[in-house]
């Protein structure tokens, strides 16, 4: 009886491992394929085997020679970094106010913000474009940072539900000791919400990093483009004919972000589950 159960559970585990390995293969295969393609001589999409017989760095070199790739990198980091800073500030502060203060119209304001946030963005892009044109901000990185950050407050619900878990008594105690609201926010709320902050910062950073639709609309000079826009244009231009070049571009764009996610995954798990538990 006991050994029977043991064998059964071992078979179960084995099946589980097989499943995990299959899913794992499916997860890494596309990445592996692109990395390998980027080192493969020639330009074709088609190849006989996954691992090329000879490796070449030609495509990476070409990327930097024919396109202002280094400049795109700098631009992207700039846009993503400032978007991260401003979005995180705006969304945390909005979440904080909604979580810890009661004022007239609060609930309606919250609901309106959430509902407004659900409008599909494309039509509004035309209006934003014309607005930026009137402000003479087209083709600047500032406009991207401004628009991305301006959208951030609508994602407050997640921050709010996180702050809701921090007991009000902590704040009251600090207030009695004479701390102002800013002090409370800085030295009590923020240190206690590190996983949430990392999560928000990471998602807003990636948001600025990968957007290609709006950025494509706003940025017209090649030197000012971001990686996503540049890469997207390479793809649109000559994608079937120079697949390996595109693969090299993909690797360069994806590697920093992927590493960031893997390194920060502890925060990611905490951040995501914090949202899940409270729904």
């Amino acid at each position: 009886m006991r050994t029977g159960a043991k064998v059964k559970s071992q078979i179960g585990n084995l099946a589980c491992y097989v499943g995990l390995i299959l899913v794992g293969l499916a997860c890494i295969y596309p990445a592996l394929w692109v990395v390998m393609s980027s080192f493969r001589p020639g330009t074709a999409l088609y190849s006989e085997q996954l691992i090329p017989t000879t490796f070449t760095l030609q495509h990476y070199k070409e990327l930097f020679d024919t396109y202002p790739f280094a400049q795109w990198f700098v631009n992207t980091l700039k846009v993503a970094f400032f978007t991260m800073i401003f979005s995180t500030c705006l969304v945390t502060i909005t979440g904080y106010v909604f979580s810890k203060f009661r004022f007239r119209g609060r609930k309606n304001l919250m609901l309106s913000l959430l509902v407004i946030g659900m409008f599909p963005g494309f039509m509004s892009m035309i209006a934003v474009y014309i607005l930026l044109m009137q402000l003479h901000l087209l083709d600047t990185h500032f406009s991207l940072i401004l628009v991305y950050s301006a959208g951030a407050p609508m994602g407050f619900l997640y921050v709010k539900s996180y702050f809701d878990t921090i007991p009000q008594s902590l704040i009251d105690a600090a207030r009695i000791d004479g701390a102002g609201h800013f002090t409370v926010f800085r030295s009590i709320m923020l240190p206690l919400s590190k996983p949430m902050l990392v999560f928000i910062a990471l998602t807003s950073f990636t948001g600025g990093f990968v957007d290609f639709i709006f950025a494509n609309m706003v940025l017209s000079t090649p030197e000012k483009q971001t990686l996503a826009v540049g890469l997207f244009k390479i793809v649109q231009g000559k994608f079937a004919t120079e697949f390996t070049l595109f693969a090299a571009g993909c690797v360069l764009v994806a590697v920093p972000l992927t590493l960031l996610f893997v390194v920060l995954q502890r925060f990611l798990v905490e951040g995501l589950t914090a949202g899940a538990e409270k729904g």
Binding site: W33, Y46, V91, P120, M123, A276
Partner: protein
């Protein structure tokens, strides 16, 4: 007895800040007066804004005879007029709020003075703002940003739905745009070619949304169960491995997938050939393209579900399972009675949200298939186009802005109704959670 509140109020009605100066609040008064000057400047634009929004311009580009030559004269650009008008109105609205607050403030301080107290000085006012009015102060910045960069564009979009702004006949600056009321709505639902496309796309959007949400959920849940199964080693390793699809930027992985599923040269068909199977038209046949889209979505979406479910699973106490085992429950019974209800309870609201998110999953469709294969029976839409990508095509490719706006409103109503019902039920939104 001097009636300070009356005087202060009347003065601040005449000019912002005057009442405050009367109340001996000099700095505040001067600051408000500067706002008043700004407001006057804005007020100068109001008549043109009213004219612009109501008429949408009166003269398009036209030729004018100057001497012996005809010169092209720039006319009114309807769309610019509309947006400029809206910006002016919103700015006026914000200033109006400041104005009302200014009058109220003058009245309150005047009343305070009548009761014999001196008006608070500037420092005290600042303290009041960062103290009692802290939430208002802090929230005003995000709200202003949202008003100008989200609300204004949304209003613009709603307005567009009631115009004839479309290519080729009503495209500024060469032509003017006019208000046509519900004419656009009528056209989209009565012209055969359009309503056929509309219902076709709506149907596929519904099928897509349901399939995409369920498959991702089941996939992520399944993988989470495998990772968390007792006796499985290297849990951290598996988890990291499965985060990869989520970590790779979506637009990159989608473009990669598009190449992998390439019918002629892609590796997927290559492997099928290797095992002696024939090629499959992954992206070119309507049925297979739809299937591919859903499959790729599982690949992209399962890691988030997995991470969340792992988080929920780790909160379930071991005791429940042990008790169940003692009672002789099978693994499946344990799953049905303990695991599933707990996960569903926490995950339910998120499931509804991801449902709403999938209705708007633009990136996936656009980058993977671009809505193709093209459907000749549809108006500028393909077989895998969902509402949002159709909207995009109508805007960017065909310039049917008014129809696109109507679809946008439709999507919004759809998504918002889901979301409102859901949000109202979530704990984070309910008032009774914290009592202050």
């Amino acid at each position: 007895m001097i009636q300070h509140r009356k005087w202060a109020m009347v003065l601040s009605l005449i000019g912002m800040g005057l009442g405050q100066i009367y109340n001996r609040q000099l700095i505040k008064g001067v600051l408000l007066f500067i706002v008043h000057l700004v407001a006057l400047r804005v007020a100068l634009y109001v008549p043109r804004a009213i004219w612009g929004i109501t008429t949408l311009g009166e003269r398009a580009d036209h030729l004018e005879k100057v001497g012996r030559l005809y010169v092209n004269v720039r006319g009114d650009h309807s769309i610019f007029l509309m947006i400029e008008g809206m910006v002016v109105f919103l700015a006026a609205l914000v200033l109006l709020v400041v104005y009302v607050m200014n009058v109220r403030d003058a009245y309150v301080v005047g009343k305070l003075r009548e009761s014999g107290t001196a008006a608070p000085n500037f420092k005290a006012t600042c303290q009041r703002i960062t103290g009692k009015h802290f939430p208002h102060l802090v929230i005003s910045m995000p709200i202003l940003l949202v008003i100008f960069f989200t609300v204004m564009p949304i209003l613009f979009m709603i307005f567009l739905a009631f115009t004839n702004y479309s290519s080729p006949n009503y495209l500024p600056p060469a032509k003017l745009v006019n208000w046509i009321g519900f004419g656009g709505f009528k056209d989209i639902f009565t012209i055969k070619a359009w309503n056929h496309t509309f219902f076709g796309v709506v149907l596929w959007t519904a099928v897509w949304t349901i399939c995409a949400t369920l498959t991702t959920f089941i996939g992520g849940f399944g993988v989470a169960l495998m990772v968390q199964k007792r006796g499985i080693r290297l849990k951290g390793f598996w988890r990291t491995l499965f985060i990869i699809p989520y970590a790779i930027p979506q637009f990159i992985s989608l473009l990669i997938m598009r190449n992998m599923f390439n019918g002629e040269f892609g590796p997927i068909n290559q492997y099928l050939n290797y095992f002696g199977l024939s090629d499959l038209p992954w992206l070119t046949d309507p049925f297979w393209a739809k299937l591919t889209v859903i499959m790729v979505n599982v690949w992209i979406g399962f890691p988030i579900t997995m991470l969340m479910v792992i988080g929920i699973l780790s909160t379930i106490s071991r005791d429940y399972y042990e008790a169940a085992q003692i009672d002789g429950a099978t693994s499946f019974q344990q799953f049905r009675a303990i695991t599933l209800p707990t996960v569903m309870f926490s995950f339910g609201p998120l499931l509804v949200m991801s449902f709403a998110g999938n209705i708007n999953n633009f990136n996936l469709i656009y980058l993977l298939t671009n809505g193709n294969p093209a459907n000749p029976d549809y108006q500028s839409a393909g077989d895998t186009d969902i509402l949002i990508t159709w909207l995009y095509k109508l805007t960017i490719d065909t310039g049917k802005y008014n129809f696109a706006s109507i679809i946008g409103i439709f999507i919004f109503i759809l998504v918002a109704s889901f979301a409102i019902v859901n949000i109202r039920r979530t704990k984070a939104f309910k008032e009774d959670e914290i009592n202050i």
